[in-house]
């Protein structure tokens, strides 16, 4: 007859093993599954492998990811993901720069018209982003404290819960099909699209659902990103990425541009060291550079990356010459190139 262990010993031992199993599943899920974000995982590995001479890191959303080609910009690495808001970027900055790459001299991020939208903050529901979210701070900032804490448990601590279909999808996915799909997206030509207006409205409805173009939390996270970089001596470049004319002509229905500019200036007033490059209208007459109304295709990305390459090189020279982050920005043309349809 085997000797029976006391209940407490049993429970503790069972719990310890359970924690190990849980940790293994969690690690495996973050590292190897997350089918929808496998591209991010690849980029993350590239980032981790990049050598110490990296000067520029590109953070942010699809505009950064699809618009800036690190291979064309010296000493740069891309770390942007589709649909990423400032809240997630802030978490990634902390994780990647604070702990791994403090030698990065500057980062580039997007300054989109929909950057301050509520949808950009409600991004804790994806394990990939959740791993970078600072949930305690988020819970303290928001009135949705309990849901945010539940998201913490659900997506950051137990990401594998209920993930059978995601795992199955990952195991069964054909990498060639995935690559083909990516190529299809990257090589799309918006100028040949049959329903440009329809697609534009669809994008706008996605980006600014129900007109919610501004949310204090999103703005607060942009401030945090900027403050974090300032504290770490990292220069920030905010880029307004190229848009198609049709997108620009329709965005006014969803976002009051003057108010957006006022809010942006209000934030940037506290961060004079931040550099803004405004390229939103540079390809107004080149729909063939876009895969959809507001995302560059591979041709557009190459041309755009070459356009900004010199500015990055110039910036690197400025930074290596000992210019402190507090000194006046070398280039600031925010608003200087703006064109509205009625002009």
């Amino acid at each position: 007859m085997p000797r029976r262990l006391p209940l407490v010993v049993n429970l503790v031992a069972f719990a310890i093993v359970a924690v190990f199993v849980h940790s293994g599943l969690r690690y495996g899920y973050f590292r190897h599954v997350m089918a929808a974000k496998r591209g991010c995982l690849i980029r993350e590995k590239e980032f981790a492998r990049s050598n110490d001479e990296v000067s520029f890191a590109f953070f942010g959303n699809s505009h950064v990811m699809m618009g800036l080609a690190p291979r064309l910009i010296p000493d740069s690495v891309g770390f942007a993901t589709l649909g990423e808001g400032y809240m997630v970027t802030y978490g990634k900055l902390r994780e990647m720069l604070d702990h791994r790459k403090p030698q990065v001299r500057a980062i580039a991020m997007q300054l989109d018209l929909h950057s301050f939208g509520a949808s950009q903050i409600d991004q804790t529901g994806q394990p990939y982003w959740a791993q970078y979210a600072d949930f305690p701070r988020l819970a303290a900032d928001t009135t949705r404290t309990v849901p945010v804490l539940m998201d913490w448990l659900r997506y950051k601590e137990f990401p594998y819960v209920g993930s059978l279909s995601v795992i199955a999808k990952t195991l069964s996915q054909d990498d060639q099909l995935v690559r083909d799909r990516q190529v299809e997206i990257l090589t799309g030509d918006f100028s040949k699209h049959e329903d440009k207006q329809g697609l534009t409205m669809l994008r706008l409805h996605e980006h600014v659902p129900e007109g919610s173009w501004y949310c204090e939390e999103s703005a607060a996270y942009l401030r945090r990103c900027l403050r974090f970089c300032r504290d770490h001596g990292i220069r920030v470049v905010l880029i307004r990425f190229p848009l198609t004319r049709i997108y620009w002509e329709n965005v006014f229905r969803f976002i009051p541009i003057d108010k957006w500019e006022a809010k942006t200036r209000e934030i940037l007033a506290d961060f004079p060291e931040v550099i803004v490059w405004d390229y939103h209208d540079v390809f107004f007459d080149h729909e063939e550079y876009f895969t959809d109304p507001n995302h560059l295709n591979v041709t557009g990305a190459e041309i755009f990356s070459k356009m900004v390459r010199d500015r990055f090189v110039e910036l690197e020279k400025t930074l290596t010459s000992g210019n402190s982050p507090d000194s006046p920005p070398p280039v600031t043309d925010f608003g200087g190139r703006r064109r509205s349809p009625d002009r």
């Binding site: 209940l7 049993n10 359970a18 199993v21 993930s163 199955a168």
Partner: protein, 482 residues
């Protein structure tokens, strides 16, 4: 509070720990408080209904026992029945009755206002605890048991949280005495309880809620689908409702067992039944034994003429359909099963010789399989009535299944969650394999006797298997609406 919620995951271990830490004499009070908390998490004010039902039967049973005259005893029994079923009718059937009346009157060109009844929220589990509470008074009236003098323990009998909102519907003779026993922590019982809870969660989260993704989509807008999606939906819902309800029963029985209480078995591999009559002896056992003991037998049961017996069957199944919900679809669902049983009984005399002729000797096994399949499909088809929101939707499903044979086209229109079905199918096969083994040997007994590494391995596989494969959308249990 849902069993499949974080709230319950926190609630249950705390209740269990405090229960065993408390001196035995305080436990009833603690469990009563925990049960009312459990119930009032949904809608606090409906705790009053639960308390009212408890008081009605406590007083009625005491008076029944005290009364010497038969007439007085009957009056108190009637008071209990009127009180309990009056509450049930007011909250569950008044809207249905008013609507039916309105339909009849509108046929004659008249109308009544229905606005007052539309907003009433159905108190969760009211049909379950009403039947449980009433059965106690009837048992006292019938002399099956003495009345319970301890109001607190009686209140706990009516409100015991594991089985409060979806059964099993307990009998006072079985459950009430257990509240006076001193339950000690028993690791073996706790392991069995946890195992049964694990099976329940597997059924609910891995099977039922996964299939619900598909079923809810099709039944939500049946006009958009046809043919194959309907056929898949009929099978999927059959397994969903079984896994959902028997899963709830397993969690309830397991939770009670951990605390030392024994609840009645509610399901016994019903899809292994060879006749519809057998099916109802293995499906929702506690409800159908209630109807058998308190309706069918008092009506004369089987010891009467064939015609009267068949009428009794129709009455019982019609009422059981109505018990499920206040809609004609439910009544027809019940009556259909009554018809199945009557037809089965009428045809038995010629079916049996034919079966002996067609399936002699070793082919009996094949006959058995055919019987099981026929019974299963009778039930599956009846569930169209059970799940449809109206008779028109039910007809749409039936006609779509029988007339739309362009299955390739209809498959392409099938709703998105189709990819969840293979996983659901694998889980169903696992469940039925478990049921088949369980018919031959007791899996819990064998596991309880196994060494701890085996137990732990089973526990980890079950725990993490459910976490990974479960669908965590906090779906209510199907039977909560009853």
């Amino acid at each position: 509070m849902l069993f499949n919620s974080v709230h319950f995951v926190l609630f249950f271990p705390v209740v269990c720990a405090l229960y065993f830490l408390l001196p035995a004499r305080f436990r009833w009070f603690f469990l009563l408080a925990a049960s009312y908390y459990f119930y009032m998490c949904w809608e606090a004010k409906y705790g009053i209904l639960l308390a009212t039902s408890t008081l009605i039967d406590y007083v009625a049973a005491m008076q029944v026992a005290r009364a010497e005259r038969v007439r007085t005893r009957r009056l108190w029994l009637a008071a209990s029945l009127v009180g309990n079923f009056g509450i049930l009718f007011s909250f569950k059937y008044l809207g249905f009755a008013a609507n039916t009346l309105d339909s009849i009157l509108s046929f004659y060109g008249m109308s009544i206002s229905l606005g007052r009844w539309d907003g009433i929220l159905l108190p969760i589990g009211i049909s379950f605890y009403t039947f449980q509470s009433v059965s106690y008074t009837i048992d006292v009236y019938m002399g099956e048991r003495e009345p319970e003098r301890h109001l607190g323990k009686f209140a706990l009998y009516v409100s015991f949280f594991p089985q409060l909102v979806a059964g099993p519907i307990e009998r006072s003779t079985h459950l009430l005495p257990q509240f006076s026993e001193n339950h000690r922590w028993d690791p073996e019982q706790a392991f069995r309880g946890l195992l049964q809870m694990g099976v329940g969660f597997f059924k609910k989260l891995v099977i039922a809620d996964r299939l619900a993704l598909y079923v809810d989509t099709v039944y939500g807008t049946p006009a958009e689908y046809g043919g194959l999606p309907f056929v898949i939906c009929i099978y999927a819902f059959t397994w969903q409702v079984y896994a959902d309800f028997s899963g709830y029963s397993d969690i309830a029985i397991g939770a009670a067992r951990i605390m030392g209480y024994d609840l009645r078995k509610n399901f016994d591999a019903p899809f292994h039944s060879r006749t519809v009559a057998e099916f109802w002896r293995r499906w929702h056992i506690s409800l159908y034994s209630w109807f058998r003991d308190y309706i069918f037998i008092p009506l004369g049961g089987s010891r009467t003429t064939d015609a009267r017996r068949y009428l009794n069957v129709l009455i019982v199944f019609g009422l059981s359909g109505l018990w499920h919900g206040a809609a004609w679809t439910f009544v027809l669902f019940g009556l259909l099963h009554g018809v199945y049983i009557i037809v089965g009984d009428l045809t038995r005399t010629w079916r049996e010789p034919i079966a002996r002729f067609l399936f002699p000797g070793r082919l009996k096994g094949l006959h058995h399989i055919i019987q099981v399949l026929v019974t299963f499909h009778c039930f599956a088809l009846s569930l169209i009535l059970f799940r449809s929101s109206s008779l028109a939707d039910a007809w749409l499903l039936v006609s779509g299944t029988l007339t739309d044979f362009n299955w390739h086209a209809s498959l392409s229109s099938t709703p998105l969650p189709i990819h969840e079905l293979p996983a659901g199918l694998v889980a169903v096969v696992l469940l039925e394999a478990g049921n088949t083994i369980q018919q031959r040997t007791s899996i819990p007994d064998r596991l309880a006797a196994a060494p701890w590494p085996v137990k732990w391995t089973v526990a980890y596989i079950m725990l993490f298997g459910i976490l990974v494969a479960g669908v965590f959308t906090s779906n209510q249990f199907v039977y909560f609406q009853f």
